[in-house]
């Protein structure tokens, strides 16, 4: 999917016109996870 198309697709998701479940591109994970060696790094559930 082209970047511009993906951005259009996200705009439709944010407008509630597209279902997010139908909008995930063929994202191939790079095989990595991401970690932080600090307790509570994510902090509270602030928006």
């Amino acid at each position: 999917m082209e970047t511009a198309s993906l951005i259009d697709q996200i705009a439709a998701v944010l407008d509630g016109e597209s279902d997010i479940l139908d909008s995930v591109p063929d994202y191939v994970a790079d095989g990595a996870g991401y970690g932080i060696d600090l307790d509570g790094a994510a902090g509270g559930n602030y928006c």
Partner: protein
Amino acid sequence: MQTIDVTPAFRDVSGMNPAVGILARQAVGLACPAEEILSWSVTRILDRDQAGVSPFRLLALVVAGGCGLRLEQAIPVAAISRVWWAGVETLDDITDGEFDAARMGMPAAQAMVASTACLSLIPQKAAQFYATARLAAAWARELTDSSLRCADGQLRDLVPANGTVSWQQAMRAYAGKTGAPYGRDAAMAALTAGLPDDQVRGWRSFGALFGVLRQLANDRRGDGRADDADLANGTPTLLLGHAFAQLTEPGQDRLTRLRQAAALDPAQRQRLHAQLTGADLALGYNQRVDAISGCLAALLNRLTAVSRYRHLLHWMITASADQAKVAPAEPPAAGKEVPA
């Protein structure tokens, strides 16, 4: 699976927090040189701002790093954002009846006036001090557009709790009230890096969807509590939108009645929470959270090359998704089934 340690990048970004706080206060002073009471009131609000130190509120710095800037170059964006968020949080507390005049050191009426200045006037004026005329004009457009979208999103929250909630209705509210400010911060960082319009649009889109994810994480803060503000206020959440979409008409009617009762009765709030987090609903809802996370990761990899800050942004996505997911409720014990 390889695990990339993003601790050094996280420390670099978090280490900017004091500088962001100092510049935010300086921005208030510059914007209100003769308005002593206003300047004092806003500074006091900044002093009491607890959410400002959240690492996710420093999105502008991380995006700037991903765009090739030194983090210091985006501190003004983060500082303006901090002033704006401090105002919004205070107004939100006043609206939700959670404003603590004693802690804030001022009555609600004073905080309301000061907070309103945080939303547009102070950020707009501060932008003129920290950017060239051309960049300041571009920042001003982002600040204005996002504040208008945020106001619209907040108004979409203020609906009576006597009907169904659609996913679209809730998503539009989220995209406005939280998506727009995060989109603004990402776009302002990209503008600071001098990126072309199409890439700025991409970062704005990334920030907006990330903001929705942060709102979903925020939604989980009251889970299981009798004083869950969202359930008490009848806020049209995406979890409610998901539940209504999955239920048949009789189920929707029961959920509508329970939602109305929950606005008045803490015990009914816990029943409503148990229903919304039942295993079936939780599974589908969490799939949607994963879908948002997947969209963000895919877009991120298109917007910027591999770097320590791209890695940190990936961590911010996955950490937010983890916070946003619903913990499925334990099924009711035999004989104690939650009445529908």
